[in-house]
């Protein structure tokens, strides 16, 4: 009274993943590419089938061999059975040890690979560290350069301010009081001298002497004409 909800043989179209392109007699050829791929795919399929059949043959052979051994109960008595059991157990142990040895051998190869990998990893880490250090140094140098630039900028700024100060000082000097006083005095002297000049001029003119004929008088009069303000 079991129910078999039908064989899932309908899974064939869905499941032939790799088998999709193989033996595609029901698919129309998709062009030269598919044509070239199909003989290759068929070859792969054949090789796979060959491997499968070999494996299955091996299985069947081993089953046949196992079944050929006559069962102990039919032939041998108790003592022999125990001896046989011991022999079989020894065989099993031997096979086990051989297997363990093979595993150890493989493991040693594996260990070598792992050691190699570890060495490489160490090298990688060292190189990383070195490159990191170099980058740090580069960064330091760059920082210093920036600092120097900034300080030179400051110095130039200072020089400029100094120059400006000097100019200002000069300008201020001109406005200082001393100069003003000196200028006033100068003006006063000029005025006094101009007055004296005019007085002497008028003296000579007033004396009604002919100053044009006498060279010394002429010189004196002309000299007195000089406008001292323009000197």
């Amino acid at each position: 009274m079991e129910r078999r909800p039908g064989e899932q043989a309908a899974g064939e179209p869905a499941d032939c993943g790799a088998g999709g392109g193989e033996g595609g007699d029901d698919e129309p050829p998709q062009g030269a590419g598919a044509q070239a791929a199909r003989p290759e795919a068929r070859l792969t399929l054949l090789l796979r089938l060959r491997a499968q059949t070999k494996q299955q043959l091996l299985e069947y052979k081993s089953m046949v061999d196992a079944n050929e051994e006559k069962t102990p109960e039919q032939l041998i008595q108790d003592k022999h059975i125990e001896a046989k059991i011991e022999d079989l157990e020894k065989e099993v142990e031997e096979v086990k040890t051989a297997f363990e040895m093979k595993k150890l051998a493989l493991d040693s190869v594996l260990m070598d690979n792992m050691k190699h990998v570890l060495k490489l990893n160490k090298l990688i880490m060292k190189s990383h560290q070195e490159s990191w250090d170099l980058e740090e140094k580069l960064l330091d140098v760059r920082k210093k350069r920036l600092e120097l630039k900034q300080s030179s900028e400051n110095k130039l700024l200072e020089i400029q301010t100094e120059k400006n100060k000097q100019k200002d000082d000069l300008a201020n000097m001109e406005n200082s009081n001393k100069i003003k006083a000196m200028q006033r005095n100068l003006k006063m002297e000029i005025q006094i001298t101009t007055v004296i000049q005019n007085v002497f001029q008028n003296l000579i003119l007033g004396s009604k002497a002919n100053w044009a004929e006498d060279p010394t008088l002429k010189e004196i009069v002309l000299q007195l004409e000089k406008n001292l303000a323009t000197i």
Binding site: R4, P5, A14, D15, C16, G17, L45, Q52, Q55
Partner: protein
């Protein structure tokens, strides 16, 4: 033909057949669909059955792997599986049988203890998988595992036989019983 024998028929070319035995039909169907979606170079044939023995009048291909699905929430499924185990030949248990326990996630609903199933698997020296078949992701994972196992049991993987796989699958939790 009430007993299933492993190598009684010739294998189909490039074909691998798995038999899923269990009482949860819907979930088995979903698992079968998940398996069919897997990428596999050989053709997969999945048979579902509630219990053994299978009817002998049907022409069916050689079965490469039997998975007994036990639902930890129902004792009936365990009984069913135990019943069906009697109809399987002893040579099948050399790597071509597996147990799949589902529903271990919800502790409160489990009426069968995990140890029961573990003992059952140990008695028959077969691998035991736990899976929650209701979640899509887990189902896909288990489907992938089953497909790989099936390929090996069908002899499609050169160099590995079902017996090899069996000894490889023995983890430290269930070592080969030393009480021989």
């Amino acid at each position: 033909m009430s007993v299933l024998r492993p190598l009684d028929k010739q294998p189909g070319l490039n074909t691998a057949t798995i038999l899923l035995v269990g009482t949860e039909d819907a979930l088995l169907q979903q698992l079968a669909d998940a398996m069919l979606k897997e990428d596999c170079a050989s053709e997969l044939k999945i048979h579902l059955a509630r219990s053994l023995p299978l009817p002998s009048d049907v022409n069916r291909p050689r079965i490469d792997l039997i998975m007994f699905v036990v639902n930890l929430h129902s004792k009936y499924s365990l009984q069913n599986v135990e019943e069906s185990l009697r109809h399987v030949d002893a040579t099948f248990f050399l790597g071509k049988v597996g147990f799949l326990a589902m529903g271990a996630g919800q502790e409160s609903h489990c009426s069968i203890h995990r140890n029961t199933v573990t003992k059952l698997a140990n008695t028959y020296r077969s691998p035991l998988f736990f899976c929650d078949l209701e979640r899509e992701g887990f189902r896909a994972t288990v489907a992938q595992r089953l497909v790989r196992m099936l390929q090996i049991c069908a002899g499609h993987v050169p160099g590995v036989s079902a017996l090899n796989l069996l000894s490889l699958l023995r983890s430290s939790e269930n070592p080969a019983p030393e009480d021989l």
